[in-house]
């Protein structure tokens, strides 16, 4: 289907079904129960899951395929956000031009940064991209963001926001009741949501989430096609041995540059979508910690795999948004069934790992994954699957000691 083989089609369908049913899957606990804190099915977080998924998918096209580790991808995310907010300010609240413009701007930026940075590889490339990203961050934070200067592109630390007197030449300047209009996709407002009450459960369906999810599925499909294309094979060639490519007479630079620009455009798309969901762009989005985050997402999920980065993105965003909100009150609620002394002991025991300690928990999990599952969460999933398969199918063949390797296909 759609030019994919059976396995990839199955993967795409699984991802599509999961994203479609996310409001149900992410809200397993009934409202009002102690564990409801762990629910993640509210619009803002679901939007972040898919948007950062797009960011990580794009990053994986560069890092997973070519092995070039960019430490400056947040710059494209941030630039995409600024571009989108400017479109909202100048053109109107329709999201399509905003998203397209943010992709175009970040592609141009990626072309420039990639052209310079890709002259080096390995750690030098990483440092170059990091330096460029920090430059962008500082430009956005203070140089281009002084509200008192006449050239104020980013509004500095406060972040670029919509105001009531923006021109919005193709849209309305203010809503009938005098407020700032909301980003919309042909009338579907990104903030619109519908609550479905089923018994004690509440499931929220948000317009913004489904828009972002549709874009994510398209981005995911394109990523599969890139992975399976001759172009993708060439990128894998760059990863396994670039020097050999040069010896055989192939100039690898255009391929790596193309991969860099594609991945930058993905980041710009993610940034633009972030601005669509919440029309504000802040310089923190471009900070090096944000660049590091996408590296963590990709490695945590499984670099070079299709679904891995999306899983990693979800994992990290879940910890950032859910674990950071568990406070002592919530903990007391959880352990209320224990005797008083034991309850206090358990709360003290868990306390350092939740709330402001979410970084600690995430760090420990990241270490565990990298040490025991070098292939990331995807490898974990494969191992579990493998466990079940082995149990079901007893080892075939008459001679258990003799394992002839299958003849490799020429194409592999």
């Amino acid at each position: 289907m759609l030019g994919l083989n059976r396995q990839d089609t199955a993967l795409l369908i699984i991802v599509a079904v999961l994203t479609l049913l996310a409001p149900f899957i992410l809200n397993p606990f009934p409202e009002g129960s102690g564990l409801a804190t762990l629910n993640a099915g509210y619009p803002d977080l679901m939007q972040r899951f898919v948007i950062y998924g797009i960011f990580a998918i794009g990053f994986n096209i560069l890092f997973g395929l070519t092995g070039y580790l960019s430490f400056g991808h947040a710059a494209f995310l941030g630039v995409g956000s600024y571009a989108a907010v400017w479109m909202f300010k100048l053109i109107g609240m329709q999201v399509i031009p905003a998203v397209l413009f943010s992709m175009a701007i970040s592609a141009i930026l990626a072309l420039g940064i990639g052209y310079v940075s890709l002259r080096r590889s390995g750690i030098y490339f990483s440092i170059l991209t990091l330096a460029f990203a920090q430059m962008c961050y500082n430009l956005a934070y203070s140089v281009l963001g002084n509200p008192n200067s006449r050239f104020n592109l980013t509004n500095g630390e406060t972040g670029l926001q919509l105001t009531l007197d923006d021109p919005r030449i193709l849209g309305v300047q203010r809503t009938p009741d005098g407020g700032i209009p909301v980003p919309n996709f042909f009338g579907i407002e990104m903030r619109d949501s519908y609550d479905l009450h089923l018994g004690d459960w509440v499931f929220t369906f948000s317009g913004g989430y489904y828009f972002a999810a549709a874009v994510m599925l398209i981005a995911f499909y394109i990523a599969i096609r890139i992975f399976r294309s001759p172009f993708g094979l060439m990128l894998r060639g760059v990863k396994s041995n670039q020097t050999r490519l040069y010896y055989t007479g192939i100039n690898a630079r255009p391929y790596t540059l193309a991969a860099f620009v594609i991945s930058g455009t993905y980041a710009g798309l993610a940034g633009g979508l972030l601005a669509c969901m919440d029309p504000l762009a802040g310089a923190e989005r471009m900070q090096w910690t944000a660049s590091g985050e996408v590296v963590l997402m990709t490695i945590l999920g499984g670099a070079g795999t299709l679904i891995g980065p999306v899983l990693g993105a979800g994992f990290i965003k879940y910890f950032e948004n859910i674990f950071s909100k568990i406070n002592d009150n919530v903990l007391h609620g959880w352990f209320a069934f224990l005797p008083d002394g034991l309850e206090d002991f358990m709360v003290t025991l868990v306390h350092p790992f939740v709330g402001k300690g979410w970084h600690l928990t995430l760090g420990i999990l990241f270490m565990l994954v990298v040490i025991f599952l070098p292939g990331g969460l995807v490898e974990g999933g494969q191992r579990i699957l493998g466990l079940f398969r082995r149990r079901k199918a007893p080892p075939p063949g008459p001679d258990p000691e003799h394992h002839p390797k299958p003849t490799p296909h020429v194409a592999e």
Partner: protein
């Protein structure tokens, strides 16, 4: 090969279950909410969004303590604190409109993005009716705009930039804390009296929005009294070593150094300036002086003996002697074993003020609450008579000018109050050039 058996009973059963399942949502969604997060159960949820990690984590922790205390007092636990001295008696210490107040907390990380994500999760997931707290103007402006869109009330915590109630003001945002303009207006006369009117000032300014408005405000206020500004130098917010910025100060002919820094920046720059021996120098025949326009107890604690004799301004200080301050400090001290900082006091007051407005309005509807807060005059929360101005949602009250104590008796006894600048002196009109532009916009009930 199929195993499925369609029996008559099976089909009937499945059909009935499906029908019930489809009918269920319509039963439960019949009651539509009139505004965002209208509290329906026995509880009402407040959202406390404070920095728990990052450079202002200490401030955030203290804010959280005060917010929890305020919730206790509203629910009638503890000794009632400043509710006993508060001029409005709408809060009875029995919850809020018959509901118990509960709260959720979040981490702003002092980043606009993270703060908005955290506030959004409180609004969308936990059903918070009000967001309070924060320790940065960038965050305050970002969260304020979000609350405007979502239709909940934002009671700002520590935010000192003019823009919060200036060009970035919103109908749903309220600021109890004072601002950079007020700091300048309160501080300049005291400085002129202490150091003379022919001083030459050198500004080191944290290179972001708050730093800029602070610098502009102090510069305008001191120049109006005859001071001259030699230079204004911007330092990166992430800087920890200021020696390269401090070295040129003495050769510039300046005799006062103004540090427009906050938090860790201020602790480092002030400590290093003092270590340079700047305060022992005589320049232009005058003693060299250092000024820190915005003080906080937690910063002063961090800078230790370096703050001795250094002037600055504050929104409130626990050493004030009015009844509201005494009641609040007593109940905070009994619970946490330390005096509250001025950011804690502002958050405490904001939570009480919100709850009181709900009680007076008799409704959680944001438009009614906004109406109750706009133009509200009150007393007894520690700052003296205060007005919540309707034009820009800024509180007008006395501003404190403080000085680092020369002989502190204990670790909390660091600052002494030099002057209580009356509100008339820090008053400005809503269309003042530093606050012009922007408008509040309409009240937005959401949903």
């Amino acid at each position: 090969m199929s195993n499925s058996k369609f029996t008559r009973r099976g089909v009937l059963r499945t059909g009935a279950a499906t029908g019930a399942g489809l009918a269920l949502p319509t039963i439960f969604t019949s009651s539509a909410a009139a505004f965002t997060n209208e509290p329906k159960g026995p509880n009402v949820v407040f959202g406390f969004n404070v920095p728990q990690t990052g450079p202002y984590a200490e401030e955030g922790l203290d804010e959280l303590r005060a917010q929890q205390l305020a919730v206790e007092h509203i629910n009638g636990e503890g000794d009632g604190g400043a509710l006993n001295t508060f001029s409005s008696k709408a809060l009875q210490g029995n919850g809020l409109l018959g509901k118990k107040v509960t709260y959720v907390t979040g981490d702003t990380q002092t980043k606009s993005d993270a703060a908005r994500a955290s506030a959004k999760s409180m609004i969308e997931k936990d059903g918070a009716i009000m967001i309070n707290g924060g320790s940065s103007s960038g965050v305050a402006v970002a969260v304020q705009a979000l609350c405007q869109e979502a239709g909940v009330i934002f009671m700002a915590g520590l935010t000192h930039a003019n823009d919060t109630t200036g060009k970035d003001k919103r109908r749903h945002g309220f600021r109890h804390f004072f601002n950079a303009y007020m700091s300048g207006a309160a501080l300049a006369p005291v400085l002129a009296k202490a150091y003379g009117t022919d001083r030459r000032a050198y500004h080191l300014t944290a290179d972001y929005n708050w730093g800029w408005t602070q610098e502009a405000s102090i510069k305008a206020a001191t120049e109006a009294l005859g001071w001259e500004t030699v230079a204004t130098v911007r330092t990166p917010l992430t800087a920890t070593d200021f020696s390269s910025y401090l070295a040129p100060v003495l050769n510039s002919g300046a005799d006062v150094l103004v540090l427009n820094h906050y938090g860790g920046n201020m602790v480092n720059s002030l400590t290093q300036a003092v270590q340079f021996g700047m305060r022992d120098k005589i320049v232009n025949g005058k003693q060299f002086e250092i000024v820190v326009p915005l003080y906080s107890e937690l910063m002063a604690e961090g800078a230790g003996s370096a703050v001795q004799g250094v002037y600055g301004s504050m929104n409130w200080n626990w050493q004030l002697s009015d009844e509201g301050t005494k009641a609040f400090v007593k109940s905070f001290g009994e619970k946490y074993g330390r005096p509250p900082s001025n950011s804690a006091q502002t958050c405490y007051a904001q939570v009480i003020l919100y709850a009181d407005a709900v009680a007076r309005a008799g409704s959680f509807h944001p438009c009614a609450v906004i109406e109750a807060l706009e133009g509200f005059e009150f007393d007894g929360l520690g700052n003296g008579p205060t007005l919540y101005r309707a034009d820009d949602h800024q509180c007008f009250k006395d501003v404190l000018v403080v000085k680092g104590k020369e002989n502190p008796k204990n670790q909390y006894d660091i600052l002494e109050i030099v002057e209580k600048t009356p509100v008339e002196q820090v008053w400005y009109e809503p269309d003042h050039p530093m606050f012009a532009g922007g408008e509040l916009g309409p009240c937005n009930p959401g949903e």
